[in-house]
C-alpha cells in the first residue's frame, strides 16, 4: 500500500502557550489505514495536524506526505498537496464571510473540476448520513455548534481525499453520533483514504476497528497503545 503520511523522529516546539510539545514522534500511515492518537481532554492543543499538513515545520525530524517531504516542496506544490487533505479542526474551522454550504464545498470546488451540482449532492447525501436534514443556509455563526461539528465531518469526508485529519472531532458533538462518524470514516478508508485521528477519549480511540494503529501521548512522547488490528 502506498505510504500517505510519514512522521520520522518529529519534534515540534510550541509556538504559543496553548500548544503542547512533541518529541521524537514516528509513525507511518498507508492508504486505507488509520492512526488514532489519544490526546486526553484538558491537554493543550497538540500540533500534529499542522505538522502533518506542512503548516508547522518540525524543529527536528521530518514529515513526508505522499512520498515528499513538506520542507522540500515549493509553496505552490505545498498548496496543491494540501488540496488532497481534508480536516476537522479542533477549534473553529469556518470562514465567517462564506455561507455554510460554500464552506462545505469550498475545497472540492477549488481543487476539482467536478460539477457544482454533483458536489452539492454529495454534501447533502453525507449530511443525511449524519442525521442532518441537509446543509443549512446562512453563515456558520448562525448554525448551532453540534450541527456545525457534523458539517465539519461532512466537509472532511467529501471527494476522494488522500488523507483525512480528525482533530478531536467529537468536541461539541453528541456522544451518540460517534458511531455515525466512525462508519463514515470507515467508508472513506475503504475508498483509500488514510486517517489521522486525534481522539479525546478511549471511546473515540476504540471507534475504528480495522486497519488501525493506536497511540497515546505520554508527556511529549508518542507511545503505542495497542496492537495493530486487521
Amino acid at each position: 500500500m502506498e505510504t500517505i503520511l510519514e512522521f520520522l523522529e518529529v519534534s515540534l516546539r510550541p509556538s504559543s502557550h496553548h500548544m503542547a510539545e512533541v518529541e521524537g514522534a514516528t509513525f507511518r500511515l498507508a492508504a486505507g489505514e488509520a492512526v488514532v492518537i489519544l490526546v486526553e481532554e484538558g491537554r493543550e492543543h497538540l500540533p500534529l495536524a499542522d505538522a502533518a499538513e506542512g503548516l508547522l515545520a518540525p524543529s527536528r525530524g521530518g514529515v513526508w506526505f505522499c512520498g515528499m517531504r513538506w520542507e522540500a516542496m515549493r509553496p505552490a506544490r505545498q498548496t496543491e498537496m494540501r488540496g488532497r487533505i481534508r480536516r476537522v479542526f479542533e477549534r473553529y474551522g469556518w470562514v465567517s464571510n462564506l455561507d455554510v454550504v460554500e464552506n462545505v464545498c469550498l475545497a472540492e470546488c477549488y481543487h476539482t473540476a467536478r460539477p457544482l451540482a454533483e458536489i452539492m449532492a454529495e454534501a447533502e447525501s453525507l449530511a443525511r448520513q449524519f442525521n442532518l436534514d441537509g446543509i443549512p443556509a446562512g453563515r456558520p455563526t448562525r448554525v448551532p455548534g453540534p450541527i456545525l461539528r457534523k458539517l465539519e465531518w461532512v466537509r472532511a469526508l467529501m471527494g476522494r481525499p488522500a488523507l483525512i485529519i480528525l482533530e478531536r472531532p467529537m468536541l461539541g458533538a453528541m456522544r451518540a453520533d460517534l458511531a455515525l462518524l466512525s462508519a463514515g470514516v470507515t467508508r472513506a478508508m475503504q475508498a483509500g483514504a488514510a486517517v489521522l485521528w486525534l481522539a479525546s477519549d478511549r471511546a473515540e480511540m476504540e471507534a475504528l476497528t480495522a486497519n488501525v494503529r493506536r497511540y497515546r501521548m505520554e508527556g511529549p512522547c508518542l507511545r503505542v497503545a495497542g496492537q495493530e488490528q486487521t
Binding site: 499542522d50 499538513e53 503548516l55 509553496p75 505552490a76 498548496t79 496543491e80 498537496m81 494540501r82 488540496g83 488532497r84 487533505i85 481534508r86 480536516r87 479542526f89 477549534r91 473553529y92 474551522g93 469556518w94 470562514v95 465567517s96 464571510n97 460554500e102 469550498l106 475545497a107 470546488c109 477549488y110 481543487h111 457544482l116
Partner: protein
Amino acid sequence: MSLLGGMGAGALGLFRRLRGLSSVAWAVLRLALSPGSWRRPVRTVLARQIVFTGVEAIPFLSLVAVLAGVAVVVQAQVWMSRLGQSELLGPLLIAVIVREVGPLLVHFIVIGRSGTAMAAEMAGMTARNEVKVLDAQGLDPLAYLVMPRAVTMAICVLCGSALFSVLALGSGYLVGALLGTGPGDPRLFVGSVLDGLVPGDFVSLLAKTLLPGLLIGVISCVEGLSVEGVATDIPQAVSRSVVRSNTAVLVVSVLVSLLMYL
C-alpha cells in the same frame, strides 16, 4: 540613536516595506495573468467584490461626480469665456477632470468605501484564524483572498474613473447651459472636449487607475493580513491601510503626471 541613524533606520524600513509591497504586487499580477489561478471560488470572490466595490458604489460616485462637474466645469466655462480662451475649454477640462481629479477622487472613494472594508475583513479573518483554515484546505490566501480583490480594485477604479469623467462633464455642461455660462449647443461642448482628447490621455487614465488600483487592493489586504491574531489590532491595520493606500495613489499619480508632461 543619532538623528542620522534614525533617518537611516527610517529609510531602511521604508525600503523594506516598498520591497515587500512590490513583491506581493508582482506575485498578484503574475497570478492574475495565469488562467489556472481563476478557479471557481476565485471567480466567485471576484464577482462579489465587483458588485460591492463597483456596482454598489455607483450612486455615491455619481453624486460626487455631478458635484465636482458642476464646480469645475461651470467655473472653467466662466473663466475661459472671460479670458477669451473658450477654444481651450476642452483641453482644460480633459486635463483637470479626466487626467487628474477624476482618477484621484475615484481612488479616494474606493479606498474609503472598499479598501477599509477589505483591510477590516482580512484582519478579522486573520484574528479568527480563518486564513489558516483556508491554507489547511489548500487554498493559497494570496490566490484566493488577495489577487481577486486587487484585480477588482484595478477594474473598478478604471471603470469608475471613466464613469466619473462622463458624469462630471455632462452635469457641468447641463448646469452651465442652465446658468447661461457655457456654449448652449451640446455639439459644440462635446466637440470641444473630444478635440481636447489625445492618445496620451488614455494612457494616462490607464496608468493612473490600473496600477494604483491594484496597489490599493494589495495594500488593503496585506495590512489586514499582517494582524497577528489579535482583534484589537484591527483598527490600526485599517488606519495604516488608508494612509498607505492614499500615499501610494498620490505618488503614482504625480509620477505619471510628470512622465506625461515631460
